[in-house]
Symmetry: C2
Subunit: 125 residues, 2 copies
DNA sequence: CTGAATCCCTTTTGATACTG
DNA sequence: CAGTATCAAAAGGGATTCAG
């Protein structure tokens, strides 16, 4: 692409606030899970698919994504309450990318953990 | 892909530790900048291309990436010292993805900020 | 120039309890 | 079920100082 002109990320650029939202592991997982789901998912379903996330962190991730128009939140006023989350058209685009990152992490975890072990090893030498 | 089987991210999965490293805005920017650069970059050059990052945060991001084998760090024992960072083959793969995320964020910042404004607006009503 | 080390404050996170 | 509220613990970030 460039021959010698790396990209510069300006601090005032609005897109930085978007990256700020995306640069969060729970947000990445939510987008990735919804990306691989053919139907909307309920809060508890999402939580089951993202092991280790607390209710609080998941709620916050969902709020941020809803605020940015990347996912939709639908409340069914039943008892007990039923809330469904789905990706929007906008969220589907970025969801594909985050899913690719999650896939890549799975595919290359072995190599990365090996590099990590090598890096950490000399400390005990 | 799936008809009704969303992906599950298990808490014990090693790939989770990889995502933990990637889910950081400075890490995303470093990978993206190196992805768009044809040559290795020095510490100060990187810092110039990622406005707002402090020395401490940049150093930490670079260490994490080096540890995971995603970037290489080369020290030239000159005076003053010269240190160059470059993407590894492994880092190039993920760098393309992070660059896509940064690009997407720029391209869609307008729409996202609009959604954000709409979401925040009712609070003053 | 490229950091490491420190202090200090803010933010995030986890755990727990409670509500419609 | 799907949250909110709260408190304590942990992590993150900025500013500064020092060093090879």
């Amino acid at each position: 692409m460039d021959t010698d002109l790396p990209q510069t990320y300006a601090s005032g650029c609005p897109s930085r606030t978007v990256v700020d939202v995306l640069a969060n592991k729970w947000v990445l997982y939510v987008l990735s899970v919804l990306n691989s789901s053919a139907r909307p998912l309920r809060f508890t379903e999402l939580r089951r698919h993202i092991e280790g996330v607390t209710q609080k962190s998941l709620t916050q991730a969902l709020r941020n994504l809803e605020r940015d128009g990347l996912i939709s939140r639908t409340v069914y006023p039943t008892i007990p309450p039923r809330v469904e989350y789905a990706r929007t058209d906008l969220g589907a685009d970025i969801g594909r990318l985050t899913a690719e990152i999650a896939d890549w992490s799975r595919s290359n975890a072995r190599r990365i953990l090996a590099a990590r072990a090598t890096y950490d090893a000399p400390e005990s030498a």
